[in-house]
């Protein structure tokens, strides 16, 4: 393999990991609600969203392992990487908090994934295009679920409104990372693999603003931000998530069902 080809496949590997890691970590977070959600229907709803995200993560991590070409499977990538090697967005590792915080996090990420994958269906990379086309169908239902809850909570009682607005204030800063283009994002866009994050942001903002307005919530102001999960910089939360998710494989390496 020539030097350029090696660099190109390494870039695609790292990009597929970013997408896969965000879905995987969010799936694990949502899974914490199983048996604890406010009602049985929400227990089912959150678990179903988690299951879709896990399915998407499996497709993406399997592909990443194939691109890397070192024989790493989806399981190797999920269970045997340290937290600094994870490149998910920091937003998805934020704690579930109360139901309002879980819903706000979900709306922000669902709207992002919807606009990203809608456009990635036309990716120059055939495999990512087909994963995007499959995923976008599921993500529409995720946003339908989270968006309708955002409206009910925001435009609900004084208590639910206050909690939802507080969750929005707390989580909004992390959305900056979703749209902050670095060298890898720019390379992927230049190669036609990924859409421009500027375009994704415009569409995302319109969609989120519409929901916030219906939910009678105030959009927080953007503040300077400099912390990037996609570069392997994480909050303290990720270590705990991985400890729970990975402990079986770490304790019994190679254990299988």
């Amino acid at each position: 393999m020539s030097g350029t080809a090696a660099t190109e496949s390494d870039a695609l590997f790292r990009y597929a990991l970013r997408l896969g890691d965000s879905s995987l970590v969010l799936a694990q977070r949502l899974g914490e609600w199983v048996g604890h959600a406010p009602a049985l229907e929400e227990d089912l709803g959150l678990a179903n969203v988690a299951l879709d995200l896990l399915g998407q993560a499996r497709l993406l991590l399997t592909y990443a392992g194939e691109i890397e070409g070192k024989g790493r499977s989806e399981d190797d990538l999920a269970f045997l990487r340290e937290h600094r090697e994870y490149v998910n967005a920091i937003l998805v590792e934020q704690p579930n908090g109360d139901f309002a915080q879980t819903i706000v996090r979900q709306v922000l990420i669902d709207a992002f994934q919807l606009e990203l994958y809608e456009r990635m269906q036309n990716s120059s990379d055939e495999r990512l295009a087909s994963i995007a086309a499959k995923s976008v169908k599921e993500i529409r239902y995720h946003l339908r679920y989270s968006g309708s809850w955002l409206v009910r909570l925001g435009d609900g009682t004084a208590e639910s409104h206050a909690r939802t607005q507080a969750a929005l204030q707390r989580l909004w800063p992390y959305t900056v990372e979703l749209f902050a283009e670095d060298d890898l994002d720019r390379l992927m866009t230049a190669q036609g693999v990924a859409p421009s994050l500027t375009d994704v942001r415009t569409a995302w903002a319109a969609r989120v603003d519409e929901l916030l307005s219906e939910a009678t919530l105030q959009r927080p102001v953007d503040r300077p931000y400099g912390w990037y999960g996609k570069r392997g910089e994480h909050s303290e939360h990720l270590g705990y998530i991985l400890a729970e998710m990975q402990h079986m494989q770490r304790t019994y390496p190679g254990a299988r069902w």
């Binding site: 229907e41 089912l44 995200l53 087909s130 499959k134 599921e138 239902y141």
Partner: protein, 177 residues
């Protein structure tokens, strides 16, 4: 589950065409593991049956949802059914174009309704509604339109929960994707 399959009569036509036709008939007898009213062919997840250069049959299978736990079970059931029918076959996962609820056959839709699950609307008519509210569905038990959505998600990834206000029965809707 697989042991209970009634194998169809082997067709008399010879060669690849005959084997492919026979394989389709075998697959028509394999029930979906979560909605046994439907066969895998009714569900539209069998994308193709073709013969490879080495003479083995290749079955194209699509997942309904990326995380659906039934996907692995379906693959195993297909392989076991074809092995029981003495067909040498291998399964290939087909992701693109993605499976759509539009591919459930008319026969499959009829069976779903009889089973008490409202079949999916066409994607063309409900793409917009996938993000916002939807029209009330007709209750599969009493036919009333006085129904409400209880949850966008049900016992399996492909279904949503609804309730009829007229007969008070809960029912499921096979989601349109």
């Amino acid at each position: 589950m697989v042991a209970s399959i009634d194998l169809p009569e082997r067709t008399h036509s010879e060669g690849a065409t005959g084997r492919i036709e026979f394989a389709w008939n075998v697959l028509r007898a394999v029930e979906d593991p979560e909605i046994p009213a439907l066969s895998l062919v009714d569900l539209g997840v069998i994308r193709f049956v073709r013969e490879q250069a080495d003479g083995r049959l290749e079955i194209g299978l699509s997942p309904t949802y990326t995380g659906c736990p039934a996907t692995a079970v379906i693959r195993r059931m297909v392989e076991e059914a074809l092995t029981a029918a003495q067909l040498n076959a291998t399964c290939t996962s087909v992701l693109s174009p993605p499976w759509s609820s539009d591919w459930i056959t008319p026969e499959g839709r009829r069976k779903l309704l009889e089973y008490g699950i409202v079949p999916p609307e066409s994607t063309a008519s409900s793409l917009r509604e996938a993000l916002r509210g939807s029209r009330p569905l007709a209750c599969p038990h009493c036919g009333s339109h006085d129904t409400e959505s209880v949850s966008e998600f049900g016992s399996t990834p492909c279904k949503a929960l609804h309730r009829c206000r007229a007969c008070l029965e809960p029912f499921e809707y096979f989601k349109c994707i």
